[in-house]
Amino acid sequence: MKQTTTIDKGLTEPYQINMGPQHPATHGVLNLLLTIDGEIIKKVEPDLGYIHRSIEKMCERDSYQQIVHLTDRMDYLSSNINNEAVCLTVENALQLEIPERVKVIRTIIGELTRISSHCLWWGVMGMDVGALSTFFYGFRDREMLNDIFEETCGARLTMNYNVPGGLMLDIHPNFVKRVKKFIAHFKTKIPEYDRLLTQNVIFQKRTKGVGVLSKEDAISFGVSGPVARASGYSCDVRKYHPYSALDKVKFNECLKTEGDTFARYQVRIMELWESMSIVEQLIDNIPEGEHRVKTNAVIKLPKGEYYQKVETARGELGVYVISTGTKNPYRLKFRSPGFSNLSVLNHIAVGGKIGDLVATMATLDLVIPDIDR
């Protein structure tokens, strides 16, 4: 029997280990094939496909109204923004005039979705670095938002509230009151998030200088969203290509230049404040009017290619439709933010420890169904 000679040579030998698909840190069925030397990561190979449901192919089968509900199931934490993306694509193609009321409500719910997604991310981020209580504090605040969504849309997660031409239902009479209550509540809670986690010396040691992504790499990998903005790459779709009512509100794009895990964390916390300010600007003056424009029962897009991008909680979501003039799209492609963001993982995690990988992955904020679709 051949003995291993590594000990004689005094060398170490890298070994492979499967992190996932059933692993607490991967938040879903992502398999990371790690090549490790002791604790130090040499290579990360993400292995996808465990939750592939061929959503893009299903879209070719479905009508344009039906496509909307499939997008709930991609990035389920920003489902309303996904819905909005598809609806905007269809509306732009049909050149429908959308009432102001619809635009404002879509923006409000979109920003609330972003807050809810970041709340969950904050809780899970804390849990990934080992502070277990943050999870419940994040969920407590998210629960209030989920109640708001449930009251108005009927569902907490997969809302399917947008339809091509407007909104499925008008907002619930309690909506404005509840949102104001939430904003007042949440303004006292973000400082608490900071006291509990952000300023914690262990947390800062765990995240500062870990998983550094330079601006050049962020651009060349096609990274978007908070991950790219933490590297100093200004890429907020809401700023550069405002959609719905976002051109009427004032907000700052949250930028950091460090590009490390802590910068990504801070960008998301800053986005919570910005999203709240957007909601505050709009909530008091929702214009009166129709909540829906009448469309044909069978929507047929004119022949051509259409592209619409929106900013989800994770980055830039693009919807690309090729229509041949029938009631189904000929081809529909989603440019999902999670896929591009995952692609940098190998680049930024190599050389770190296993703990660094977990912290880095937490701030990439991956939603696996968004990556696999």
Partner: protein, 352 residues
């Protein structure tokens, strides 16, 4: 001929054995008593952890089995006993099965020397503190064995981290206790308590004692492999760490041992820093049996402090763990010993 020899021998042996057997019986009874205490304390601490965790996390916690969930952990233990003991095919069977016993036996041995009151102390050894430090570092062998023998990479990483961690933090525990030994001049636990009749050591030693206590609590938390030093289990990194491949009662042994170790760490702190069974300002001096409540009360308070750490702080990374020990705790500890020595030499202690 042969019969008579046997008879003589029998008589001889039985006359010698009578006294021996009495003391052996005594020992067995005491041992059984401690075993019972061990089981109850372990289960109670698990329940306490779960309730405390729930309250920190705005939850309710287990409250269904028995009054306020008091029998919950009992039910869990029964469930774990009835579960199948699974394991990996390629595990080193002997070491794999041995490891949980290593951990649990060492945890149990540590309990023997604590003075619960003036009278209740099973084993008043004259090197009590030394004995405790020695015993507590054996437990890590069980963890190393378990992680190694499971033939699982996650378990192996966990076990290796545990080895690194325990070797480092043993030092801090030893040195911080040594600081206090300078005050007492004895390693015997009953002697240490005697000294504290003129003020708990944390008051007697004032500043260096408080520093020693803080270092001790940090190192003690690390020694028991609890968050923020739960490198060994690190569920978001390693799944379950060294006990990934253990199930049923073998897993429960690791789990119980963790809680008993936590109790032991807190009990050492109680004995050395907070006057063991002595009541504050001697308010119940006339009722010595109340010492048990004072002892357990103080210990549980310290256990609660460790739980508070666990549910608040993020986990350190493995290299930061070592940085904390070798760059911060150890130098401070050494300086602290010198300061304490000066204080004792110049007689600057606070005594009532």
């Amino acid at each position: 001929m042969t019969i008579s020899i046997i008879n003589i021998n029998y008589n001889l042996i039985s006359s010698i054995m009578l006294e021996e057997s009495m003391s052996i019986l005594n020992m067995i009874l005491v041992a059984l008593g401690y075993l019972g205490f061990f089981a109850v304390a372990g289960l109670f601490l698990v329940l306490m952890e779960r309730r405390v965790a729930a309250w920190f996390q705005l939850r309710v916690g287990p409250n269904r089995v028995g009054f306020q969930g008091i029998l919950q952990t009992m039910a869990d233990a029964l469930k774990l006993i009835s579960k199948e003991l699974t394991g990996t095919v390629k595990a080193d069977k002997f070491l794999y099965n041995l490891a949980p016993y290593f951990v649990i036996v060492t945890a149990l041995m540590g309990l023997a020397v604590f003075p619960f009151t003036k009278d209740i102390q099973a084993f008043d050894i004259n090197i009590g503190i030394f004995f405790l430090i020695a015993i507590s570092s054996i437990g890590v062998i069980g963890i190393l064995l378990g992680g190694w023998a499971s033939n699982n990479k996650f378990a192996l990483i966990g076990a290796m981290r545990s080895g690194v961690q325990t070797i480092s933090y043993e030092l801090s525990i030893g040195l911080s206790l040594l600081t206090m030994i300078l005050l007492t001049g004895s390693l015997q636990l009953s002697e240490i308590v005697e000294v504290q009749k003129s003020g708990w050591l944390i008051v007697q030693g004032h500043v260096p004692a408080i520093i020693a206590f803080m270092i001790y609590m940090i190192a003690g938390t690390a020694e028991t492999n609890r968050a923020p030093f739960d490198m060994v289990e690190a569920e978001s990194e390693l799944g379950a760490g060294f006990h990934t491949e253990y199930s049923g009662m073998k897993f429960a042994y690791f789990f119980l041992a963790e809680f008993i170790n936590m109790f032991i760490i807190a009990a050492i702190a109680t004995t050395v820093f907070f006057g063991a069974w002595l009541s504050p300002f001697g308010i119940t001096e006339s009722l010595p049996w109340l010492g048990v409540f004072w002892f357990l009360g103080k210990t549980l308070l310290l256990v609660f402090l460790m739980m508070w750490f666990r549910w608040t702080f993020p986990r350190l990374r493995v290299d930061q763990l070592l940085t904390l020990e070798w760059k911060y705790l150890l130098p401070i500890n050494l300086v602290n010993i010198v300061i304490m020595a000066l204080i004792v030499w110049l007689n600057l202690t606070i005594q009532f």
